[in-house]
């Protein structure tokens, strides 16, 4: 319950003069306009003490009782004190406040009315009052004040609670604002922002919070080798701490390809993909990237039928194009090891097959796809995730779109299957609840755009897989390129500055109050401020984002209890 201070004890900034549910409350400002900014979190106390309304300032407007008073030249005809009095009586500023939540206030504690009001809650007859969507309006002249730490804790959660991760601070007064990690992992979420607005720092913050919270496992597809080990910031040249440095036992860094080094560090193990793991669907996914034709599906199907789903790739790779042998009569026919030979034998169009083969040369050449990988790293990864560890898959020097598409989709397909099975088992047997998994994808528009949406496992996860305890965390600078069905499914959205109107619209898809938020998104300070929005957040709010630095790590890890039992330590190592 929030503290029930009387209205007169907290300084007020204005009072309600008009407005309503649709276009927000209009507040007459009683302090200087420069004391209040757009996006300020304000609390309206209804004058009869019934409700508290929590909302955001979305507009400030200057006005005058009569437009002639706004003309400064009248000051010349009046003495200074009279001119000042005139201005204060005739010129004003109005705020437009978008209300988001309301909370039943109740009488003052310590009074008999208070006890009477509390009785049904204590007896369990009524639920404790909690913030609700706004359904009514405060009466005229209700006082408005800036939100205090207590209000923020009431709405966004007590920052001392383990599942609440402080993501930033309110802009005006610096009160900490927390994200509910429990809600965060229940639905897919997104981190957005134009290039250079500090998106990767924001991501590091969120990932650190998730790993610290440790109720969900995190699988990070680290396309640019940013998150695992320490890095250097491109603009300041300062060292950026990696997740492995701070969570050495919980985080495993996996390098793509045998012998891969990640920023001159040795990863925990390397991932090599067995040829037998590659399915025809994985190749179809690369249609756009490799410019494959429509005939691909038929050809692949035939290959799979001929050689089996786990052997077709190796077999196809072995074939040659254009190898011919001479028959006894001197005719040149396709050699038995040629693509054409196989195609003819199985009724597949030769040109289609040869075309596919030559296009797949790029994939055949990938050094991390091998016949016999040194270890079953794929299984290792899944085992680690099930045991509660977190995986950062760094792509090492394989930073092309092809690598990203192929590997992330392949892995995700496998992981998704495992989790689906676990969830189904749990549903039927009742024990062994799967540990929630968050799959973190950067450059999400490459995997989740409209064309790919039907083919990748990612869009299925975004749409359906919270039933199976798997959600996505997508990170992107071009949200307009992401399939809008996926965007509208996102629960929590954390967004930095966005310049493009389409991107802004995409980030706001599925949310109410878009008009007001649209302006705020475009006016965020790049690298300093972010907007929190969406289902996972009680109300939209712009915040000054936390700095990702040594102090952050001290605060985050300092929360960990120092006395860990030996059992906890062993558990952390994944046994």
């Amino acid at each position: 319950m929030s503290e029930n201070q009387t209205q007169s004890e907290k300084p007020h900034i204005g009072y309600v003069i008009s407005g309503g549910l649709k276009d927000g409350f209009h507040i007459r400002l009683e302090v200087d306009p420069d004391k209040v900014q757009e996006g300020a979190f304000v609390v309206t106390e209804s004058i009869n003490d019934e409700w508290l309304f929590y909302g955001l300032v979305v507009d400030l407007q200057l006005g005058a009782i009569d437009p002639r008073y706004a003309d400064a030249s009248i000051k010349n005809r009046l003495s200074k004190p009279i001119a000042e009095q005139l201005n204060s009586e005739t010129l004003y500023t109005n705020l437009q406040v978008m209300p988001a939540l309301m909370l039943e206030k109740g009488p003052k504690p310590g009074t008999p009315e208070y006890d009477k009001w509390r009785a049904p809650f204590i007896a369990g007859l009524k639920d404790e009052p909690r913030p609700l969507p706004v359904k009514t309006v405060p009466p005229h002249h209700s006082k408005v004040r800036m939100a205090e730490a207590g209000d923020i804790a009431e709405i966004f959660g007590d920052t001392n609670k383990k599942s609440n991760f402080v993501i930033g601070y309110t802009r005006e007064q610096g009160h900490p604002v927390a994200l509910d990690m429990e809600k965060f992992v229940q639905r897919s979420s997104g981190v957005f922002g134009a290039t250079g607005t500090g998106k990767s720092f924001l991501t590091r913050l969120v990932l650190a919070g998730l790993i610290q919270y440790n109720k969900a496992s995190v699988m990070i597809f680290d396309m640019h080798n940013e998150y695992g080990f320490d890095d250097t910031a491109s603009d300041t040249g300062l060292k950026v701490i990696g997740l492995k440095s701070k969570f050495p036992s919980r985080v495993r860094v996996v390098g793509l390809g045998g012998g891969a080094m990640i920023r001159n560090n040795v990863p925990d193990f390397n991932l090599e993909i067995a040829s037998s793991d590659i399915t025809p669907e994985d190749i179809e996914l690369l249609s756009r990237e490799l410019n494959l034709k429509e005939t691909t599906a038929t050809t692949l199907d035939a290959l799979a039928t001929t050689f089996g789903r786990d052997k077709w790739y190796a077999a196809f790779k072995e074939m040659k194009i254009g190898s011919v042998i001479e028959t006894e009569d001197g005719k040149k026919v396709p050699a038995p090891d040629s693509v054409a030979f196989w195609a003819n034998k199985h009724g597949v169009n030769v040109m289609a097959a040869e075309g596919l083969h030559s296009k797949l040369r790029r994939v055949f050449g990938l050094d991390y796809i091998v016949e016999k990988p040194a270890a079953d790293s794929l299984r290792e990864i899944i085992k680690a995730l099930k045991a509660g560890q977190h995986i950062v898959l760094s792509f090492a020097r394989h930073e092309s779109d092809l690598d990203y598409l192929l590997v992330s989709n392949l892995l995700t397909r496998r992981i998704k299957q495992v989790w689906e099975d676990m969830a189904n088992d749990f549903r039927s047997s009742g024990d062994g609840e799967p540990r929630p998994l968050v799959i973190v994808v950067e450059e999400a528009h490459k995997l989740l755009n409209r064309e790919m949406a039907s083919q990748t496992s990612f869009s299925t996860i975004a749409r359906e897989l919270r039933k199976y305890y798997v959600t996505l965390l997508i990170i992107d600078q071009r949200p307009s390129q992401i399939y809008d069905e996926v965007m509208s499914q996102l629960g929590t959205r954390v967004s930095g500055w966005l310049g493009d109107d389409d991107d802004i619209r995409a980030v706001l898809s599925g949310l109410s109050g878009r008009e007001a938020l649209r302006g705020m998104l475009a006016r965020l300070q790049p690298k300093e401020e972010v907007m929190l929005m969406g289902w996972g957040v009680p109300m939209p709010l712009p915040v000054r984002s936390r700095r990702y630095d040594d102090k952050f790590w001290e605060e985050l890890l300092g929360k960990k209890s120092d006395k860990k039992s030996a059992l906890d330590n062993i558990k952390e190592l994944g046994f």
Partner: protein, 209 residues
């Protein structure tokens, strides 16, 4: 209570009265002064002088064209007028059983009742009670407005006298605030009054240099 008698009532109504006086009485009262007239024991009406008129009587009219007029004749006509000098006073409140009220009294004073000029103490007392509610008789009741009386000048002269009596820096600003909030919807009337006030009270810093 002041005992300077400055004239007698010629005409009276609920909202105003007209005082007639002799020329030797004219030295004391002036435009914007607060004056007091008795209604009954413990019941007096207060008003502000908003107009002082010297009407022509038939004789003066005839003498105006004589050239030359002897000084003695001029003096005689000024002092020994048949028609009194008229002061028009707007009612701003009353005092009943020692309590000042800024409403209109239930009935006016009677003709030939004598009028007194209020002392500084009375002026302070009258202007301290309440929050300048009596301004509405000047700004709102349309009495003065109907007569095209100079409301801005009246208020600024009256406030200047009151400021001098209170002898408190910036006292008049309490009054100007009330005037602004009463009249802010009437830009033209307000500006007329504020200009008069600004004139009566130029920037305080200058005054104290």
């Amino acid at each position: 209570m002041s005992v300077i008698e400055i004239g007698r009532i010629l005409q009276a109504s609920t909202t105003e009265f007209i005082v007639g006086c002799r020329i030797d009485q004219l030295t004391a009262p002036g435009f914007g002064d607060l004056v007091r007239a008795p209604i009954e024991k413990d019941f007096a009406v207060y008003g502000l002088i908003y107009d002082i008129r010297i009407e022509e009587d038939g004789l003066v009219r005839q003498m105006a064209t004589i050239n030359p007029i002897e000084a003695a004749i001029i003096a005689d006509n000024q002092v020994n007028r048949i028609v009194p000098i008229e002061m028009r006073v707007i009612v701003v409140g009353y005092k009943y059983k020692g309590q000042i009220k800024h409403q209109l009294p239930s009935r006016p004073a009677l003709s030939l009742d004598s009028i007194n000029l209020c002392s500084n103490e009375e002026l302070i007392e009258f202007t301290t009670v309440g929050e300048f509610d009596y301004f509405r008789h000047l700004l709102r009741n349309n009495v003065l407005q109907g007569k095209d009386a100079p409301v801005g000048e009246l208020i600024s002269t009256h406030l200047k006298k009151a400021q001098d009596a209170h002898d408190e820096i910036g006292w008049y600003e309490k009054a100007s605030k009330v005037i602004i909030s009463m009249l802010r919807d009437d830009y033209i009337s307000l500006m007329i009054i504020l200009e008069a006030l600004s004139n009566a009270f130029p920037n305080e810093e200058n005054e104290h240099e």
